[in-house]
Symmetry: none
Subunit: 217 residues, 4 copies
């Protein structure tokens, strides 16, 4: 073949990379295995990507683009806050179950092995959802739908924390195991229960007005 790789071929290579990186982690992942699995030679891999690290970054970008797409799709509609939350939960639940590798790779960035990417990627990725969530929390606050005394930044943070843990709980081995321990072996087959309870949790968290307890004296 004397041609540039097509987008489809690139896609196949990246998918193979994502699978391998998700399966074995960035360090144990093997470039030859990836080449073999995607039906190309290592030479091609190194023609398109300067190094294993560089290739890992490309895989990562594909994952994050997809995850962003999922979230952006939900946020595009002008729903009320809890409807949005529900849609996000369902979307992440579905995506994490169907494309666990993508979420596992996202999780890898948060681990030490990817130190290198931490700063840059955090900026790139988290700014989007951070901004979006803060925005609609502030709007909801303005509309009187959620508690006035909430710090939109922190609340957006807590909200995203719950979503992140949710997606990892549907995709990463350790978190999956933990999910079953916290809930029970049936959680993975009763998505509605999880959606329902998380919404219940969020709904309360967002909408209570009174403060029953005075922390700090």
């Amino acid at each position: 073949m004397f041609k540039k790789l097509t987008d489809e071929e690139i896609q196949i290579i990246l998918e193979a990379g994502i699978a391998e990186f998700a399966e074995n982690g960035p360090d144990k992942a093997n470039m030859h295995t990836i080449a073999k699995k995607s039906g190309v030679s290592v030479g091609v891999l190194y023609k398109y990507y300067a190094s294993k690290d560089d290739f890992f970054e490309a895989c990562l970008r594909l994952c994050l683009a997809e995850l962003n797409r999922v979230i952006a799709e939900v946020l595009a509609c002008d729903d009320k806050i809890l409807v949005r939350a529900e849609k996000l939960i369902r979307a992440l639940q579905k995506s994490a179950k169907e494309h666990s590798g993508y979420h596992v790779l996202y999780h890898e960035i948060t681990a030490g092995s990817c130190k290198k990417y931490a700063r840059a990627f955090a900026k790139e990725i988290e700014s989007i959802s951070s901004g979006a969530y803060r925005a609609f929390l502030m709007q909801a606050q303005a509309e009187g739908v959620i508690r006035k005394d909430a710090d939109p930044r922190l609340f957006a943070f807590f909200f995203d924390n719950l979503l992140m843990m949710l997606q990892f709980s549907y995709s990463c081995d350790y978190y999956k195991e933990r999910f079953q321990i916290y809930c029970d072996d049936g959680v993975f087959s009763d998505d509605e229960r999880v959606v329902g309870e998380l919404l219940k949790f969020l709904e309360s968290a967002f909408t209570v007005e009174r403060s029953q307890i005075s922390h700090r004296g």
Copy 2:
């Protein structure tokens, strides 16, 4: 030194290991570096630990013991639920800031490179907090302090999710970056703000009675 290593010296080695594993991840961490950093020879490392894996596990156990100790200490007192929550938040906040390596290593287990430990450790570690949280949620429910319609298992799960994300946000690079993005550069010097907002979030989440939205239809 030609005497058997004292407990303190073993501690130094483990701390060096934790630092190296936290810094580079289990795969990239280098046994020679650890030996050098802790002022012993590689031989000593292999006299006390059968393999890199075995040593990693020992480091891990030290971290987890400490983390469990922190949590257990808080749970020992028979406080009301939100007091407990507050104490847990403060304890984790403090611990994650002071011994970030311990928390980073805990986080490592959740990542792909430690696949091997996922199952076993999850059982070992998460069962404790899972049981404890569920128990005091149920007790609070019985006392009428928190909403009756909450599934204690799921709510315990969401609660711990928030705590985990909190500790990682004070210890792991990526999460720290993200924390600043969500909140602002000042978060790390205003612990009270975080405690206050998270308590506010939890308080509402736990105590609302009415359900304003009907999910699912």
Copy 3:
């Protein structure tokens, strides 16, 4: 060189291995040295052979194949027993002098460091000559050429013992030294003398009819 190794190149590597293993024994032999001596990188060694052990076995097999070839060539002809013996002696004498490494490696198997191979290889190698020698001893017995009261199995064993010691005496350092002590410094340059005397020894051993001594009472 970026083409697959040719058979000749593989041969060079194996020869380097045989030389190194013969020189230093299987344990002290060094894979880096072998790589260097055969002009390839260690990587190549491990591309073609799974481990040092595996490589050693390959070297061994090459030696044994050659040794078997030498013996098989002689046994192919339908000569009378002492003619065969003479041919075998000459063939082993020549081979042990010219390819001492091959014979040294054969000798290595008999030593403790190769414990692992003892059983399997013994079966594989010794069965052939054992069977062949016994067969022609029995034939010679049937033809009345050699003594009737000989146990063909034991006599075949003694015969091969003499041949083995002969080949080792021309190839292994210790045995070479011993050879010179038993005979004199000139043995290695007077092959005919050795052939002649050994044939004399065998001829008598095989052909005497009367038993002058009553062993066992």
Copy 4:
């Protein structure tokens, strides 16, 4: 203990060394294991022996002394040649069965791993039996008991070759396996058969007068 090691203690250490060296070969043998097995510390080992090599040599010397003792005992009596042969055969058969380690270690010298000792030891050890055997062969020749045309040096060599192979066949794994292949599984329990046949073989070899076959033309 503030005393020099007694001869018995030295003996225990050497026996442990012989066992370990015989079991694993000189390279794989472990100094710590030897120390442990003989109930002393490695420090003591290195107090009495400069290095592993030096210790191996000491073990070797013990073995060889014992083997020489066995042979010398037999040669002390002024028996006729075949009586001597029979006594030697029985003595080696017994010794190799009972103290296989000693013989295995002797065999190790002949292997490449002990390159270092080849020259020196060969001189030291083989000279004795070589001289003795040659002497009594010449005497027997003078007495007209064995063939006149035999070269006493070579015949002594062949004689010792058969004895060496015999002792190894009763002590070294590979040779034991080979022994069973050549003869049958019962050889090890029918010592008389082996003695008888070897004597038959030697008797003929030594005593034939006429040369029935003209080798070389």
